[in-house]
Symmetry: C2
Subunit: 455 residues, 2 copies
């Protein structure tokens, strides 16, 4: 059976749509898209070229086209809005909720953006959008919409239902009705379920729940997401510094944000600089990947210089060369483990987290355990299995121990420092830091060898 009943998204349909566009078969295009979910249509338009996508959008109702526009990939979206004229775009934006409108306008140059806003028909909407554009895109203020239902605590159920009727067009999903006093201070919420079950003349002040979680406009999106997850919320009111209700964040925007951020983290860890996908062009993917590979290569070339300094020692003890990859790889693995644990803790922001000092002590102890175990293991293999003399085994084992300690320290400290400076700490597990760790590891390795083997 079909998991998704509405529409079969297929390469065959894409072909027939392309044909329909070429033949200007407007009837076929409109009919085939009727009742199809906007996210599915957007996925189809993402595959078309810009002229074809705009042709389809112009055939559809403004409200339908607006919903599709919101769901486009950022790449396609930028191309489409660059091509549309301000009046045409304003007609679509008039049909959107304020947060979606702001998300689109923020992609445009200031001049074009103002042109579009001045062409909006709904004056309240342009005020709302201008308000939202003031906030950082990834803050609570930037994530919220201005469309929601609020009720004065002095209203009764009938008045509240009237307000729902009045706003029914603007607010697609209601979830909760927020309760405010005469000065718009947020007091609590009342669920639609309660409204349905209460008698018409019940006062809102008698049925609302005063325990309500709200967030300030300046809170970071990541923290907002964590609050919604932790407290199982599908919508979250946003208040200004005076505790006045100014907007509402819904869970669909948070799901998108979480996905974006986890992709960003993984890209930071793997060193792919732009927001690319496997379906992008060879040139684009290479361009995004090469800079990070070059960092690694330059690091490797510097490593070659460092090893070159010890060439005399190496030629006396050629076996030292054999263990270079072992030392380098262990340092890299330990560093990535340590940094990813710290990054995970930073994301959860619990008040029960260890203090930096406790963290340092614990990190040191874990590094000692790991370093001792791995050092002893390597010593045993090198001496008892590979049959090297024990001073050589001691050299390799001690170098391992030192590298584990050093890499743990760097892996723990780097993300903390990055976070302090407001940089995504996930970068600490990426190529730049890993390369720096490799170089340090090499220096330690040859330092220990020089000392113990008297080279």
């Amino acid at each position: 059976m079909e998991p998704i009943k509405t529409f079969e998204l297929s390469k065959e349909y894409l072909e027939s749509l392309r044909e329909g566009i070429e033949l200007l078969d407007n009837e076929f295009i409109k009919q085939s898209l009727e009742g199809v979910n906007v996210a599915d249509i957007a996925a189809i338009l993402d595959e078309l070229n810009m002229d074809e996508a705009i042709y389809v959008l112009r055939l559809l109702d403004h409200s339908f086209a607006a919903d599709i526009l919101i769901e486009l990939d950022e790449d396609s979206l930028v191309k489409v809005i660059r091509e549309m004229d301000p009046i045409e775009l304003a007609a679509l934006i008039d049909e959107m909720e304020s947060d979606d409108a702001a998300d689109i306008l923020i992609l445009m140059p200031t001049k074009e953006r103002e042109d579009v806003i001045s062409n909006l028909q709904v004056k309240e909407k342009s005020a709302n959008i201008l308000d939202l554009l003031r906030y950082d895109e990834y803050s609570a203020g930037g994530l919220m919409a201005k469309e929601f239902i609020k009720a004065n605590k002095n209203w009764n159920v009938i008045q509240t239902i009237e307000e729902i009727r009045r706003q029914a067009e603007n607010v697609e999903k209601i979830y909760s009705i927020y309760v405010v006093d005469n000065r718009q201070h947020l007091l609590g919420r009342v669920s639609l379920k309660k409204i349905i079950l209460a008698s018409s003349d019940t006062k809102i002040s008698d049925i609302y729940e005063p325990e309500l979680i709200s967030v300030p406009t300046h809170m970071e999106g990541e923290e907002v997401a964590e609050i919604m997850r932790k407290y199982d919320l599908e919508s979250l009111p946003v208040v200004n510094a005076k505790n006045r209700l100014v907007g509402r964040i819904t869970v669909d925007d948070i799901l998108d944000l979480i996905r974006e951020q986890s992709e960003e983290d993984i890209q930071a860890m793997t060193g792919i600089s732009a927001d690319i996908e496997e379906s992008d062009s060879v040139f684009r993917i290479s361009k995004a990947r090469l800079p990070w590979l070059l960092i690694g290569v330059i690091g490797g070339l510097m490593g070659a210089k460092i090893i070159g300094l010890f060439e005399d020692g190496l030629s006396k003890y050629i076996a030292l060369a054999s263990f270079i990859p072992l030392v380098a790889a262990t340092g890299g693995n330990v560093g990535i483990q340590s940094s990813s644990l710290v990054v995970q803790t930073l994301a959860s922001k619990s008040v029960f987290n260890d203090t930096p000092w406790q963290r340092f002590i614990k990190g040191l102890m874990i590094a000692l355990v790991n370093g001792l175990v791995l050092g002893a293991f390597v010593f045993s293999v090198v001496v008892f299995i590979y049959g090297f003399e024990s001073i050589f085994g001691l050299t390799i084992g001690l170098a391992m121990f030192c590298v584990v300690l050093l890499a743990s320290f760097m892996g723990t400290v780097t993300p903390l420092v990055l976070d302090k400076f407001g940089i995504n700490p996930a970068i600490a597990s990426g190529p730049f830091i890993t390369t720096a760790n490799d170089l340090l590891g090499l220096a330690v390795y040859f330092g220990v060898a020089m000392a113990l083997l008297k080279l």
Copy 2:
């Protein structure tokens, strides 16, 4: 101002709670927790030892304690339910929605689980729970709850409101009312907003929306999450093979699932085997990290053996040793980039993805571009800056080129193969595969050197 108004989660409060427990000051404990969000209380109980946590839970109402229990960390939860007797636990589970109850029961041994279920007071609940326990925990069937509101298409609005009233206790958040025919086939949905705005005698069949996305019980949780994100859903009906409505998944469970899975992916990539946090004990963290470090170390020791085979060549051309880390690191970086791109594509499951063959060709072209650029760069630095003879520069450059090609191939193929066998493809970016790539890279490096330098 406070972002979260309800409760200040502080170490000071934790201390005073501990004191209250020691002094058996039940009044203080109950009063201080009154009206506090259950997720906050759970975070506090996670910090207590098991006896203290159970003491607090026993003081509270069954329904309050049940809500807190659901929010506990899995570690604390397992300890608490192991300690409670079946009758006590059944009284709490009677107060839970079926999906939460099943999530808890699945943590118990079969015998104890049956004891608890046989002590449940609400017979309908035990049937529901037994039904849910049949499904895989991470499938749609395992994620769904049996509590939701459904309306027959022949009902009118008044009858539907009666059903809401009847179920108000069981269904905490309604979102949508699902519309079914006489044989329980899912037909569509109607929003609470529509119910509020329609007149009492309106027929459900006149106002419901027939376009509705549903998923089958066997769908994987990851796919369910992607559908809810893509289509902006806060709840999703689940149907059986006969398209009969059997449950409902809500977005709060999906947010938890997404977080768990992204942590799992990062742990797979960084090689930390158990589900650990920075706040766990030194012993536990070391135990989780050491196995993966050992894999890397064993790989490194095998690498030492490989290099040892070329010792004669190395002693003639000692400079070869200097470039070992360069070659190994580049192979590692290229492999991780390639595999993470593939993993990202696998997660999105678009029908417009390239076929395996197109993917292979494109991967090859990107590898050629990257390999040529990096190989040429390395050749230039080695010959023109470091002043080696050009045959040596060619050796290093060509080895780089081969390693980039090989690592790209391995990085692309490995996650695809793992995915085919139902293994999390994120492991491909982890220590095991990276180590294998390192060894291959070393073999290629010395192979090229043997051939070109005639060693």
